[in-house]
């Protein structure tokens, strides 16, 4: 993020505003967002423990007071950023799935593509949510588990329900995808997460209609 200009703007002679003033709510929301973006970047760079409040306000370009007006402290900033990212990612995935006119296979592929795109476009958030959250705080690890469950539930709603399949199939599939993406992020290649789409589609589709057919689907 480019450094923000500091200091108050000089008073102008003519009292005609150059641009319409931004509403207080807009600015407050924007600052909140900048604080959350800052903690994502910092934890991605140096880990949660090493990230101090001073680092966050400096990176976000806000006053320490602004941070404390919005959040109780570091953990609350982290959790808010985590929840915002997960909500945003899931909302996009659901929207992209809903747009697909085709069958469930197409929906699974669209959802997976949407997830990988989110990771690629938000590498710091992805690292924060999928790696750093696990070791940040007890509450963060609980949120991680809850987020995993939301992805499991979304998968369940998308794939055909087949009593003969293992009851845990969606959990293992989501866990497997998360593991591949985890490694991609650890390799510092989150930006290229979308390259994983063909292989991960095949992996996710395979159990539902036999491996051979899954290959045809993934390559189509």
């Amino acid at each position: 993020m480019p450094p923000r200009p500091k200091g108050k703007p000089k008073p102008k002679a003519a009292a005609v505003p150059v641009r319409p003033a931004l509403s207080r709510e807009f600015i407050a929301g924007h600052k909140r967002r900048r604080i959350m973006d800052a903690i994502a970047e910092l934890t991605a760079e140096q880990g949660y423990d090493a990230t101090k409040i001073g680092d966050i306000v400096r990176r976000a370009g806000v006053a320490r007071k602004t941070l404390y007006d919005n959040f109780e402290g570091k953990e609350e900033v982290f959790l808010a950023a985590f929840d915002t990212a997960v909500d945003e990612a899931l909302a996009r995935i659901e929207a992209d799935c809903a747009e697909v006119e085709g069958d469930w296979e197409e929906k699974v592929k669209a959802g997976l593509a949407s997830f990988l795109r989110y990771v690629a476009e938000n590498p710091a958030l992805a690292r924060m949510c999928m790696i750093e959250a696990l070791s940040a705080t007890q509450t963060a690890t609980e949120r991680y588990e809850a987020a995993m469950q939301r992805f499991v539930d979304l998968t369940k709603r998308t794939v055909p329900q087949d009593d003969r399949l293992p009851e845990t199939i969606e959990e293992t599939l989501v866990g497997g995808v998360a593991w591949i993406v985890y490694q991609q992020i650890r390799r510092q290649e989150a930006e290229k997460a979308e390259d994983l789409l063909p292989e991960l589609s095949e992996f996710m589709l395979a159990p539902f209609h036999g491996a051979a057919e899954a290959q045809k689907q993934a390559n189509a």
Partner: protein, 212 residues
């Protein structure tokens, strides 16, 4: 692990050191199971093991170092069990099945070790999370060596191999967190189907699992 008798007992120094080391590793795993990584301190580990703080530091530089030693130790025990189980199996699928059976039985029997390996490995943070990744990756060849391709298809891509191992580990970690470590062996048919299907196809995988 048994404490050694106090006072003069004429035991060789190396023997005592080795015994203390093993007690500390076991104590670390127990502390982690009870209170997680952050709240596990060097004093708590020493207290549980019956080893003084200064003796702790003769063995390990830090809590992280003790964690890494305990982690590696546990992974090697698991590896030995898996390798013993799949040795001398007549074919790939039955080898994988035997390895999974042994794995789940060991996990259920050694709950502290299981939590250490499956949960704390990723939670202990930057100093040590490489251990988890390396350990998990090292189990991939046991699944893929000699793996066939499903009838009418080709071998799944490499991501599937890793995702199968990672998916199983993730499922089991979630069961640990749910307090269901002891009942893990009951998951065998489901996990086996998940692991075998990409290589055998659904029908063949189910045939082998039901005939185990």
């Amino acid at each position: 692990m048994e404490r050694l008798p106090r006072g003069r007992h004429g035991l060789p120094r190396e023997f005592i050191a080795q015994n203390q080391r093993e007690r500390l590793l076991a104590a670390l795993a127990e502390c982690l199971e009870e209170k997680g990584y952050d709240r596990t301190t060097v004093s708590a580990i020493g207290k549980r093991a019956g080893v003084s703080k200064s003796d702790f530091y003769k063995q390990f530089e830090s809590k992280d170092a003790c964690f890494v030693a305990a982690y590696d130790d546990a992974v090697e025990r698991i590896r030995a069990a898996v390798l013993a189980a799949c040795a001398e199996r007549e074919d790939w699928a039955r080898g994988v099945l035997a390895a999974l059976t042994a794995l789940l039985d060991l996990f259920a029997a050694e709950t502290a070790q299981t939590q250490l390996v499956l949960v704390e490995g990723l939670r202990a943070g930057r100093g040590v999370y490489d251990r988890y990744q390396v350990a998990l990756q090292s189990f991939v060849p046991y699944l893929t060596d000699g793996a066939p391709a499903p009838e009418g298809g080709s071998r799944p891509p490499a991501a599937t191999d890793e995702a199968v191992v990672g998916g199983v580990a993730s499922l089991l970690a979630r069961r640990v967190l749910a307090g269901e470590t002891r009942t893990m062996p009951g998951l065998l048919p489901e996990i086996a189907e998940f692991a075998l299907t990409p290589y055998l196809g659904t029908t063949e995988a189910r045939r082998i699992i039901s005939g185990r």
